[in-house]
Amino acid sequence: VSEKKVAYLDHNATTPVRPEVVDAMLPYLREHYGNPNSVYALGQRARQAVERAREQVAALVGAADVSEIVFTSCGSEADVLAIAGAAWQASDAGKGKRNRVVSTRIEHDAVRGIVSQLRRRGFQTSELGCDADGRVAVASAEAALDDATSVLSVMHANNEVGTLQPIEELSAVCRARGVLFHTDAVQSAGKVPLKAKAWGVDLLAISGHKINAPKGVGALYVRKGVHLAQTITGHQEKNRRGGTENVASIVGLGKACELALADLPHADDLKALRDRVEAGVLAIKGSRANGHRSLRLPNCAHFSFEGLDGHQLVVALDLEGVCVSAGPACSSGASMASHVLTAMGVHESLATGSLRVSLGWGSKGADVDRLLAVLPKAVEKLRSIPAAL
């Protein structure tokens, strides 16, 4: 496919790797190839790099201690380690009496997938709902947790509509019930401050490629004293996650965390750009914004359009050099209402006509101009297709 210049407005899907991150990684792909678990100096060099990265990650997520960071291969693996690891551990320790897992209807597929796996293997599961803005009520968690519950998993920010959840309150509810609390912070990392220790969460997952590190690396914050069953067996990461450390990518993740933390004070710049997107898009007739108006990520906006198919809109925009997305499950061409919008009570006809615009490092006013220049016409043209059915 020809490499034409595009306006990339899908940073919630993935992000470009920052040059500083590439530079930090290269020595560990070239000369410092040692195994961080080896005795000799070459190995020690790699170990130092991994531990430096652990500090950088710990700083971004707000850990109390560096040792609370476990590196994984991605955000999904971090979620699986948190949820399955907590569920299995509690089930073993409680001799099968603690076999309940609670999550929400708006979680990322990584969480939904492992929760349904656990359900098929005999665990009790339940899902909390949300309101029309995508917020989960603390009271619903209070009502859902019982003595059999091992873990509650609620994402920090939703990947589609960006709504933020009351993590600190949910965490307090869990603590009071002796339930572990996991939050999937993959989408919020680098966009809003993370305060693992201050919030009192037990587990928190992040992913490298959402914060300008490469794909294939993630991390799980595991509060000191929390024990998880292994999902990938082995002795690495202090017996918490097997597999020789992906040194270069871990270094990249560390560097990206450092950069993200330094950039957090500038989140308002993105917000201003996002607000311009929103004002421009909402000027189109028959459009509406989804997600909480204030309690949400500063970088993204989510819309529904009456009378069109979101997937077809994404193609139309791609042909004009603008990268945006319709929903997480659209690569197959099947335009389905996303589980998130369904949980929010958005009518199917609006949910299938959805569009997500997400900004990030490197986003410029010109990208937004390009989107706003082509979107109204694309919407109008798609709406003018005669109803086929």
Partner: protein, 355 residues
């Protein structure tokens, strides 16, 4: 050649791959599109839109350096193609689902979508030609697919491109091979892409609103019962095999009578028909003043000279063949030609030589 943005409908087969390749070679901005025509539960039978075919189409586009998208038209396909197909069989007709698919889906909704994407045309891998807005038979007479394209209007034809229509099948394969396309030697697709294993009867039964298998009589033309059948669906006029009757002479289906749920069989002679009644006409060109046409009554049938009579504003008319034709099947398309030119076509309603 001025560079145009064109949608290439790609099934994952060699013909549509070749079509996309030819356009890309001419310097056009080609947008590869594979239609998802079947619901998830029905894919995986090696029919169009199955994951393996989508993958082939994607890989071909990658090779050609063009983008590829998948578009879900399963709901439209179910309503416009599959449901009428099932209903036709249930009412003792033999449908041509490809005609409706081309009209409603590939050259209907997809053209509309392409326009919305600022694409000027939709290219498919059909063997047919369009010149000056007129639909012509393919250069490769053996592969000609105009029989399935007669339902298009002039407006749709103005947006349709058939890049392989001027080539033979082997030339298309050679082209694909030369470009290293993985579909170059791929087997020919089945006639009805959505019927797994060509088992029409099983498909109709699975999709019939209420059981298709109402057993009934197999009779000869004199009305004598020769045996029983387990449901009309799947029988076609002219069919010889699978009738479940033994007779000294070979027997063929002469007619399917929906009202009495009867399969009427007879000799080969009795399938011969001098005239048919045609309706649901789509005229691409004006009807010829003298009513003389070459009529094709099934795919690959050598068009037979005939005369149109009693053409009304509504379109229903009789078609009288110069020489009797074997087994025109109600529900099948009949397409009228003047040499290479496709004049239009309609649907065979019934035999026209008996009241």
């Amino acid at each position: 050649v001025t560079k145009r943005r064109i949608v290439a409908a790609m099934s994952g087969g060699v013909d549509s791959s070749g079509a996309a390749a030819l356009l890309a070679e001419q310097g056009h901005e080609v947008v590869g599109v594979t239609l998802k025509l079947l619901e998830r539960a029905e894919t995986g039978f090696g029919c169009c839109g199955s994951p393996a075919d989508v993958d082939d189409a994607k890989r071909v586009c990658e090779k050609l350096g063009i983008p590829h998208y998948t578009v879900d038209m399963a709901e439209l396909f179910a309503k416009k193609v599959i449901r009428p197909f099932v209903e036709a069989y249930l009412s003792a007709q033999t449908p041509n689902p490809c005609v409706e698919c081309n009209r409603s889906v590939k050259h209907g909704h997809l053209i509309a979508l392409a326009e919305a994407w600022n694409c000027e045309a939709v290219a498919t891998g059909h063997y047919a030609r369009v010149e000056d807005g007129r639909l012509l038979k393919a250069a490769d007479a053996d592969k000609d697919q105009t029989y399935f394209l007669h339902g298009l209007t002039k407006k749709e034809l103005s947006k349709a491109l058939f890049p392989v229509g001027g080539l033979t099948k082997s030339q298309v394969r050679e082209k694909a091979r030369a470009l290293g396309l993985r579909t170059a030697d791929k087997a020919e697709s089945q006639e009805i892409c959505f019927v797994p294993g060509r088992d029409v009867r099983a498909f109709v039964e699975a999709h019939a609103p209420e059981g298709a298998s109402r057993s009934g009589a197999v009779k000869d033309t004199a009305g004598k019962e020769l045996g029983r059948h387990s449901g009309l669906a799947g029988f076609t006029v002219g069919q010889r095999k699978g009738l479940g009757v033994t007779a000294p002479e070979p027997k063929y289906v002469v007619a399917l009578e929906a009202e009495t749920n009867t399969v009427v069989v007879g000799s080969n002679e009795e399938t011969m028909t001098k005239a048919i009644v045609v309706d649901a006409m789509n005229w691409i060109e004006p009807p010829p003043p003298d009513g003389r046409v070459a009529a094709r009554i099934r795919h690959r049938h050598a068009p037979a000279m005939a005369t149109i009579s009693g053409l009304t504003g509504g379109g229903e008319h009789r078609l009288v063949f110069d020489e009797a034709q074997r087994a025109p099947a109600p529900g099948q398309s009949v397409v009228y030609y003047l040499g290479e030119l496709v004049l239009g076509g309609g649907v065979i309603i019934r035999r026209g030589d008996r009241p």
